[in-house]
């Protein structure tokens, strides 16, 4: 190039010109940043996060929320978070598991900014961790499915076979089996938390195999629920209880996250200077999760059975109490052993009656 300096000069000039200035703003009580891995309109995980944040915003007047959707779990997300901090964010929710390490890097660089990360496990002075007690919460949902199925085959679409997801399937199957020993849960893995075309094909494949209820652990339940509804099957939702609107006829129930209460508490703690990092896991009774309203075809006694199970959970019942065998006959949880919160990520096996390969 004859004169590359020209470009550099141009860029520097442009930089100087634009650095001028600031747009005056009112000082909000708190600026909260949130990054989502997908779109908030997914009737699923991201929607539940957005709903929680909106609830937090409604509870705290003067709170400003800045958000970014479709932020991938790569080095990019660090830049996005840094940008938000430059805009004044003092509390950040990096809402996807894979954002964790990057958020931690940012947290270490900015000890005056606070983070609460869902689904992870690292905790530092300005970095905490929270999630719902999903695994055990799937047990009552399984009861509903076990009672409602007529073909005794239930389809479960899983995004990625991580421990937590397998735990969900296991609790679901344990619940279903507890009311219907013949029931089978068939698992199909799409290898992506959010590949709609695969989810549609997976749903169809499960329906082709005779499943009459579909449920899932993917970011958004929409496609699978719609597939079930269009072929006359029943569905159970996950992540956001709003998804019931997609299946007016076939909806049984679902499990959703209701993060708002917790998020409000965290935001208040940042404003008051009382932020406490922790490894927080809350269930239905503490308000972080909710069982969705039942669909029109669910009989009253099934509803009662489900809600009774929810009660039992609140009183300390843990479905992962031994002895529990996996689908190859090996005892995985021994007699007298109980798997608590800390072990929920350790599943690499499927319980009896589940058709699928865990690894």
């Amino acid at each position: 190039m004859k004169n590359p300096n020209l470009i550099v000069v141009f860029l520097v000039l442009a930089a100087l010109v634009s650095l001028s200035p600031a747009y005056a703003q009112d000082k909000p009580a708190l600026i909260v940043g949130a990054i989502y891995i997908g779109s908030v309109n997914d009737y699923g995980y991201n929607r539940s996060m957005k709903d929680g944040l909106e609830e937090m915003k409604a509870n705290i007047p003067g709170l400003k929320l800045i958000e970014a959707e479709n932020v991938p779990e790569t080095a990019e997300c660090e830049r996005v978070m840094e940008n938000m901090i430059q805009q004044g964010a003092k509390l950040i929710f990096p809402t996807s598991f894979g954002h964790m390490d990057f958020a931690l890097n940012v947290a270490r660089r900015h000890r005056d900014v606070f983070f609460y990360h869902p689904g992870g496990y690292k905790v530092e002075q300005n970095f905490g961790n929270f999630y719902g007690k999903t695994q055990t919460a799937w047990f009552p949902i399984g009861i509903a499915a076990g009672r409602m199925t007529k073909t005794n085959k239930i389809g479960f679409v899983v995004g990625q076979p991580i421990g937590y997801a397998l735990g969900n399937v296991n609790a679901f199957q344990l619940g279903a089996r507890s009311v219907n020993p013949k029931v089978q849960t068939i698992v199909v893995v799409t290898n992506s938390w959010s590949d709609k075309a695969k989810e549609a094909a997976a749903a169809n494949a499960l329906l082709d195999q005779g499943c009459d209820i579909l449920t899932m652990h993917v970011d958004s339940p929409a496609v699978i629920i719609q597939a079930a509804e269009s072929r006359g099957a029943m569905s159970i939702g996950f992540q956001s209880i709003e998804s019931r609107r997609l299946a007016p006829k076939g909806w049984i129930t679902g499990l959703g996250f209701t993060w708002g209460k917790f998020m409000t508490e965290v935001a208040k703690s940042v404003i008051n200077g009382t932020f406490k990092p922790g490894f927080v896991r809350q269930g239905i009774d503490e308000g972080m999760m909710a069982v969705a309203p039942f669909g029109p075809s669910v009989p009253a006694d099934v509803q009662k059975q489900v809600l009774d199970a929810v009660d039992k959970l609140a009183k300390g019942f843990n479905p992962f109490t031994g002895p529990i065998k996996d689908n190859e006959g090996i005892v995985r949880i021994k007699e007298g052993e109980v798997w608590g919160n800390d072990k929920m990520g350790n599943f690499d096996w499927y319980a009896e009656g589940i058709v699928g390969k865990a690894k």
């Binding site: 779109s39 908030v40 309109n41 549609a200 494949a205 496609v223 072929r231 058709v355």
Partner: protein, 306 residues
């Protein structure tokens, strides 16, 4: 047991393969005119986003498909301007179109993510769909695009091989100078071929968003445009053979999911690779023989297919 597996694979193959067929048909026509459109992926995305947006706004998925087709055609014309009039390198232009399509589709689709649409209605064939083996599956209970897929392939064949227009297109693809000398206008023919290709591409994308998944999200075509380009070679640039190609690849996709649904003990990732490896294997086995079937004009772009 095998019967259910076969039925599932066939049903899945037809569902997944429909959009592949449309995309492949469009690209066959384009390549017959001597132009490779690597940007097909971008056109699929534009089709998907536009169809979904229009369906959300107007409530009519059919209208969505129509507008998507036109949008695909327009995008193809933009690409055409670069490679036909400006004689730009086809591969680079194609990738640029892919980027363009990725961005435009994201922009268009942004406001409609999460919208719920009715989608293309399913039309049930009265007697066939109640046959014992068929009942309970998606066979013979499809939307209009699936029913039209094979007729469209026949139409493409007829256009290319039984009309004067098609003859002209193929002539341009073989030897643009000779075509020009014989009184045809190569550039016009190429633009027309590209436009038709874009129409098909837009429809293919539309099928994904308003029928198969009834949703939109960024990048949802996941490389199907590139698969279609490979399928063009697989089918020796012939519309009717493209049907086989689309079924095979659609079937491969369906097979891996059906196998999982039956509890086959293979890693889902290995199963996932199967369609792509199958395409590669087929290209490999028949790639050499394909060379002579390619329109000669394509050689100017693909060094090595000559």
């Amino acid at each position: 047991m095998i019967a259910t597996l076969l039925r599932g694979v066939l049903a899945g193959a037809i569902l997944s393969g429909t959009l592949l067929l449309y995309a492949t048909l469009g690209e066959v026509i384009t390549e017959r005119a001597g132009i490779v459109n690597l940007g097909l992926e971008g056109i699929l995305l534009i089709g998907a986003a536009v169809a979904f947006a229009v369906a959300s706004v107007t409530g009519s998925a059919y209208l969505g498909v129509l507008v998507a087709a036109v949008a695909g055609g327009i995008a193809a014309l933009i690409f055409g301007y670069l490679v036909v009039s400006r004689k730009a390198n086809q591969l680079a232009s194609g990738l640029a179109m892919m980027f363009f399509g990725t961005g435009v589709s994201a922009l268009v689709g942004k406001s409609y993510v999460g919208a719920v649409i009715e989608g293309l209605p399913k039309i049930r064939v009265p007697w066939l769909s109640s046959l014992p083996w068929v009942r309970g599956s998606t066979l013979f209970n499809w939307d209009i695009l699936v029913y039209l897929a094979i007729p469209m392939a026949a139409l493409a064949w007829w256009l290319l091989f039984r009309t004067r227009w098609g003859l002209g297109v193929r002539a341009v693809g073989e030897n643009p100078i000779a075509a020009f000398a014989s009184g045809r206008r190569p550039q016009l023919l190429q633009y027309q071929a590209l436009f038709v290709g874009g129409l098909f591409g837009g429809v293919a994308g539309a099928h994904l968003s308003v029928s198969l998944t009834r949703t939109w999200n960024e990048g949802m075509t996941a490389g199907r445009g590139f698969i279609a380009i490979a399928l063009v070679i697989f089918s020796k640039w012939h519309p009717l053979r493209a049907i086989a190609g689309a079924l095979v690849f659609g079937g491969a996709e369906a097979l891996q999911l059906q196998l999982q649904a039956r509890g086959t003990q293979v890693s889902p990732f290995l199963l996932d690779m199967f369609p792509y490896l199958l395409t590669l294997a087929v290209l490999l086995a028949w790639g050499g023989a394909r060379r002579s079937a390619a329109p000669a004009g394509l050689g100017r772009t693909f060094v090595g297919i000559e």
